[in-house]
Symmetry: C2
């Protein structure tokens, strides 16, 4: 998935007005992904980010006034990327179950190509707790909407709510951790993992009688 698509850097202090500025901001965020992903927040430095991005230090301060600020912008940017990865995996027409499965498969593929995402989102719990919480609350709200749409279409049962949305999100996050992040590439396929999760959602784990 191209990270450059869509709106970027909600968290940037100043939005670029030119195409060149937009590219510079994108370079800074992509460099920050590597710098924070490899070194962690505390060891990461602004000069490390600008060096990786190949831009001047002054350009950094055009958009961000601190390491905290670009980290916050990066978490928001990654939230958007996760959203797009799940959404881009959807095609019309799909049943509500197919939507859940495609969203998970899209996320697994995204995470396996951007393994740094777990480390950065997880580090936000300590560096920027509000962003961490917003990240998950936003995803859970999207899942709740999909559960409601599935119920409206008569596919999902009524009465699904907050707990079910967080349960599904937790499933997806931990399947990503186990397979996309910690798994060996030969050891799993996004299709198989998404199938297992989809079967669980479709019929549970009881033996059918």
């Amino acid at each position: 998935m191209e990270q450059g698509s869509g709106k970027i850097a909600d968290g940037a202090e100043k939005q670029p007005r030119t195409e060149r500025g937009r590219k510079t901001l994108r370079k800074l965020l992509d460099a920050a992904t590597i710098e924070f992903g490899e070194r962690g927040f505390h060891e990461a430095s602004i000069s490390g980010i600008t060096r990786r991005a190949g831009v001047a230090l002054g350009s950094f301060y055009t958009y961000f006034d601190s390491k905290d600020a670009i980290f916050r912008a990066l978490v928001s940017d990654m939230s958007d990327s996760v959203k797009r990865a799940a959404r881009d995996a959807l095609t019309e027409p799909m049943t509500a179950f197919e939507v859940e499965k495609a969203a998970l498969r899209g996320f697994l593929e995204f995470a396996s190509e951007h393994k740094e995402i777990y480390r950065i989102i997880d580090e936000a719990e300590f560096v920027d707790p509000a962003s961490y919480r917003t990240h998950y609350e936003t995803i859970a709200a999207r899942i709740r909407d999909r559960l409601q749409q599935g119920a409206d279409r008569g596919e999902f049962r009524d009465g699904l709510g907050e707990a079910h949305a967080w349960a599904i999100m937790g499933m997806n996050v931990f399947l990503g951790l186990r397979f996309a992040i910690w798994g060996e590439a030969d050891d799993w396929s996004a299709d198989d993992v998404a199938d297992a999760a989809s079967d669980l959602l479709r019929t549970g784990i009881a033996r059918q009688r």
Copy 2:
């Protein structure tokens, strides 16, 4: 749940040989829970731990040779606590579905009384990645065993495996985060959340026809 029950501090460099030593080690770990939970690993200090524990600095070095060492011991101790919280919630006889539900309810109650557990386990991803991974791999292995037992008893379907275990663990972890850690006490009950998760496992989310 009493944290002092069971074996303690696998990770301690030296195991206490006396009851008094055992109590000192327990005090150090309980104080470390608060120190790391409130201040985070980087801000936490050995002197902060011994002050909270009311023990002399020399006693710390009887058991641990560094802040890293007691953090590692604490993650291992918390893994054991999570295991006991889930296990203590079980009574005989229970169906396999009742076991899953009781284990989740026990975990939710434990987490709501020990809210620092998320912060400490999550920080292990950065401070001590091996402990972090072991924590989850150990829990997933226990869930896999229970899935196998449930299948052997004819209650769960065949073919449940690694993906299902991680899906269930992720459900439980995120339900704990949403309700036990972030929820207002009046806003949820461990019974209701465990019921929702149990229904999901039992029949999935499809509308019954």
